[in-house]
Symmetry: C2
Subunit: 229 residues, 2 copies
Amino acid sequence: MSTTDATTKSNAEGAESAGSVEGAEDAATEPSSQVASIDQQEPEAGGRAMRADAKRNYDKVVAAAREAFAETGVSASLEAIARRAGVGIGTLYRHFPTRQALLEAVYVGELRQLCSATEQLLALPPWESFVALSHTLVGYLATKKALAHELMNYVDRDAAFFRTCRSDLFLAGEPILSRAQEAGVLRTDTDFAEIIQLIGGIAKIEETAPGQREHILDIALDGLRRQPS
Amino acid sequence: MSTTDATTKSNAEGAESAGSVEGAEDAATEPSSQVASIDQQEPEAGGRAMRADAKRNYDKVVAAAREAFAETGVSASLEAIARRAGVGIGTLYRHFPTRQALLEAVYVGELRQLCSATEQLLALPPWESFVALSHTLVGYLATKKALAHELMNYVDRDAAFFRTCRSDLFLAGEPILSRAQEAGVLRTDTDFAEIIQLIGGIAKIEETAPGQREHILDIALDGLRRQPS
DNA sequence: TACTATACGGAGGCTGCCTCCGGTTTGTCA
DNA sequence: TGACAAACCGGAGGCAGCCTCCGTATAGTA
């Protein structure tokens, strides 16, 4: 035993927690100003509001983590993140007891952003909107691979936290999926849970040639399209 | 050179596996006997033969690593592996300068085994043999997920080593693929490189229900089958 | 048997993880 | 406005894993 303690304990109890909703992933150079616009932010269970300085540091850490994870991958040193954020390591750990918790905080923001972007896809015809959704998800997850790799593997865990995130994703995707199925253009022996798995798997592919991932996705989509038999 | 190694930092922390993998599928408890059957084994560039004690320790380390990676995941402590093998950490590092090198050594044995097992699939009809190959690969990679996760991501790297492994895999798979394409049952706008990527992606999926991975593979296979338009 | 190239193994330096606690700051109430 | 307590900050310190270096042991040869 001994070994990996970190694996367990996906704390996440905070539920809620949250992340930043601001803009492009790499902007975030000036954290406090833009990241600040978060409301439902990880209150203590009691519901007491965060102190101003704590909030400030929380945001700085999330911003620094987003950059670091993007640059170095999920294994970025937490101490480096703390340095980057200009806070002590103790501060980082108070807000995020585990690396997982920090990943989640970053993830929430990214996911929210993604989900809200998919709404407009309903303007397209059923099959086209489903295809667009798939490409969007694959493209997004592939870009954020460092995060996605780690996090997609937890999508089925029973942490309450992830259920929330998952439901965000389902809320965004399921209408598009159902519409395609009802229109008879998408096979009906599958569901969004399965499709998100497939998409996650494809997103993890390391491209050996530009566009390869997209092509593989197209093949998979052919498999999903209802065969007019 | 200068610090070439230091740069690595593969640490592989992210992995975490969380796997708690099943039991060791097959023995490997008596290392020297079976693992020894790998011949073209990391000779020094010069080609000089390994000393007997060195060979013995080499085999012990590979066997211990195979077990440890299966149990703990790719992030298993190298020092624990050395202890398990009953050798000093220095010995481990002499044979395997990086964690990656050790993973590769384990990988070679596993892959050889797999490739030789696929030959008999040619007895089946074209499409069926292709389907069987796909299922075999997915099943295999999924079982060895700890390894596969790490290693499939390097399949496109230019390490000479991986070219060799890759060619083993291609030698096993390409005949089956070509036959299916020539028989007109498999779409022709793809190749084995791409298919292996797809399969690798699907293998990485964490099942949320038994058989889910297989079902997803079937969907993808539908996409690969030539549509009789 | 004697000798040397080769291999062994663990001490030690370094980095990262995480906890703990004394000092500092914020927000509130009189 | 001033004072106080709760909340927060930050880094020292203990622990574990990574990797290197080098004195010692051994296999293989003459």
